[in-house]
Subunit: 476 residues, 2 copies
């Protein structure tokens, strides 16, 4: 059924949609902008969830669930928050056959309802810190949608923590950004730059927002996760105070942080090629696909061997799928599973069995290995690690190749127009300059990286001496 | 903070609410009828999820995610379905600052949107069976709500499968009912009766509905899970046909099945006592709570021992929590963790360490054991199994004691009024009789159990000879 995907170089956006549809990752739902996550795509999300959830628990967090219906007036309580979110909410006006007295907003994010509850639960420093995460669906009514990257309803996790001091809240904000960095780099094999968002790009209601930023294979940037220090803004709005150790009432400090199904889009665009999807082994639903090759007279022989190998692979905790559909040819299957991004393919037929070997083909490199059957499980276990590392390195090299340090405004415009990618340049910290650069070039400041050269330079636009080297890019 | 819970015998409904609130399982949200599932309650739900999810996968199912917004006209397509669900839906009329052209219903269940998608995915017998499950939130606008048991938004899983034959669909319906029975009995230690719902109690749109029915400790019944054979009803409504092996177009056969956060309510009411919650070890967030007992001079000694024991327990995969809060007395902690239902408590102080022992108290029996420290981990591992079995047996005995076989209508009324519980009685199969019994006694037919005596008897109401022995009870 695979018609082959559009080439990346031809039309990257179409390549992306082709991959999502043909690899059966997702489909549009009947309501404009909604997404159906199909089993293969959802299995990737489940792998993300299980790794992230463990990392959250290892850092002391627990899960809970808050209602998705938020009374409309809650949103009004934090001035920046309502300005940021009110334009894109979906509103329930009728339920149970009647018009509601107060309309209900479907959560675009849960700060307001969670801080309403935290007021009930927090009274003393002994109730702090409160370290809660929620896995949930949220709704933001977007005009332009794209599968995984921007849909009106999406799945995510949102952490919401409460602390006794500003220092603790800041430390939590950094801890969770580091969790996201580790997850992106070690599980998704997606290198990211960590840093702070500018004032104009920060979360509506935050004191400061930090993010991980990745480069996609079209050299555009993707904001892949954010961690916010909310200061006392939501505690103020919802009157959440606690008695500190000196018996004084004080406003609680807050953080929130989240990643979403958008990460699946990031995964696709970090690694894929003209044949389709490429999945890093740690998050791939299947790490290995076995294509048995047989005719009627050799079926028993081959399948017995395959079954035995599969048993051994599963013992070694390799996620393996056998494609024994007799209605499709081996060649068809090779293409199909390459397009669907399975990291390794094992081909095994009667002649291979005679020689006591199997053929292993690595998806991302095309490398072909003839492996002794007795060594096969060990070989594949090693490749799980090797392929993961190679994909990370490949993505990192790609990012480095497409990152340009520029020093003049003319150079900036030329690079953005001709090469794209990430541009490292000094910025004077002015929102006005940021806005002008955006208007003229469509490039935005992705973040002010933590990793700074430690010397000043000239602002790319104003020429003023500046201490901030920032990353500019066109972004999703 | 524990004020002690109301006695079950005094006011069971109040006991239930006290336990849910004081054990910090859940809280009401700001919108009427919505629920906040707090971390301790959510940890129970997570344990349910992880066991059920594995059972679904072991029976060949995969997870996916469908949008929660359903175009209003979808609901109209299946006549019984709309009649059943239209009165209780919540409706989105505005989004992104504009009135929508067509109002959107928030899923009360997902048959309609899923079968809309199945039409796109199914064309041949080779696409079948399609075995998909979804973990999601759903909304049903209920007038009378109670935490976990009936809330306007709740969490659940809904399986939706598509099959080539009626026989296969029926087999799937039974397989999943059996998964639910096993989960209820082996994980929740909650004995259930499996059987078929009557025509008037079946799911809106099903050909036949099957359920697991449990008895709560007030002897009322709780429907704890349902599995529906949907026949070709939804395939007809959404025009989902497939080409069968003989190249003929045929309508697809369907099933759906679900359990929800209501199960947490069932767990509470299956095992709890006047001291509060009692949790079976397999689903308890903490299987063991350790209460270290020390003064300033013995703190180091005790905590070193406790830390070493905890390390060993975790190696043995025992879920253990240490309550080392120095601001609360041991006595307070004993009450607190009994109320919160932790299956086993370990007390350990300097004198215990001198004797090389610890005190273990079993929550449900109150049994006190002095256990050598060298034997402690093995003892607790054994108790995880023993307590699980004892709780199941205790619940089963309770159900048996409160199940009455009656043969006359006078007896029926007397038993329902004075003893309650489950009543086994013959029924002539008439919906009219069923309705009259319900009106007169508030007892409903919980199910027609699979386990039948194999002989006929007189209908409890009409006196007609009948082959169906059914279970009547007042129900949640």
């Amino acid at each position: 059924m695979s018609k082959g995907v559009t080439k990346q170089s031809e039309d990257f956006a179409k390549w992306y949609t082709d991959v999502v549809k043909q690899a059966k990752l997702a489909d549009y739902g009947p309501v404009k902008g909604t997404m159906v996550i199909r089993p293969y795509g959802y299995a990737i999300w489940e792998n993300f969830q299980s790794s992230l959830d463990q990392m959250f628990k290892d850092t002391g967090h627990v899960n809970a669930y808050f209602p998705m219906f938020i009374p409309e007036h809650f949103l009004q309580k934090e001035a920046e928050h309502v300005e940021g979110f009110a334009p894109e909410v979906a509103v329930v006006t009728h339920a149970g056959g009647k018009e509601l007295e107060e309309a209900l907003v479907i959560r675009p994010t849960s700060e307001t309802i969670i801080w309403h509850m935290y007021k009930k639960w927090i009274s003393s420093y002994r109730d702090l810190p409160l370290l809660i995460n929620q896995w949930a669906n949220v709704v933001r009514w977007e005009m332009r949608t794209r599968l995984f990257l921007r849909t009106t309803e999406f799945l995510w996790q949102e952490g919401h923590t409460a602390h006794a001091t500003a220092e603790e809240a800041q430390a939590e904000t950094m801890t969770m950004l580091e969790v996201y960095r580790r997850f992106a780099e070690e599980y998704m094999a997606m290198p990211v730059i960590t840093g702070q968002k500018t004032e104009s790009e920060k979360f509506a209601g935050a004191v400061s927002t930090y993010s991980i930023e990745a480069m996609m294979r079209d050299t555009k940037a993707l904001q892949a996760g954010t961690s916010h220090n909310l200061g006392q803004n939501f505690a103020k709005a919802f009157e959440v105070t606690f008695q500190n150790k000196d018996n004084k009432e004080e406003l609680v400090y807050a953080t929130s942080w989240g990643v979403s199904t958008r990460l699946v889009g990031g995964l696709i665009m970090s690694h894929g090629d003209d044949k389709g999807l490429i999945l890093p082994p740690k998050v791939a639903p299947y790490q290995v696909v076995i294509i048995p090759i047989f005719r009627n007279d050799s079926k028993g022989l081959v399948m017995d061997k395959v079954d035995a190998l599969v048993t051994d692979m599963r013992k070694a905790e390799i996620r393996v799928h056998i494609d024994d559909d007799e209605k499709a040819s081996p060649g068809f299957k090779f293409n199909e599973w390459e397009m669907r991004g399975v990291p390794m393919r094992v081909e095994i037929g009667p002649k291979d069995i005679e020689k006591g070997q199997a053929v292993v083909v690595i998806r991302h490199s095309g490398a072909k290995h003839f492996v002794q059957l007795s060594e096969l499980v060990n070989f594949l276990s090693d490749q799980v690690v090797i392929v993961q590392e190679e994909l990370f390195q490949r993505a990192l090299d790609f990012r480095e190749e497409n990152t340009h340090t520029v020093e003049t405004w003319d150079e900036f415009k030329e690079v953005i127009d001709t090469k794209g990618g990430f541009i490292k340049a000094y910025w004077n910290g002015s929102a006005e300059v940021e806005e002008k650069i955006k208007t003229e070039t469509k490039a935005t400041i992705r973040c002010i990286p933590f990793d700074q050269p430690g010397e000043t330079g000239k602002c790319i636009y104003s020429g003023e001496e500046s201490s901030q080297l920032v990353i500019f890019a066109k972004a999703y």
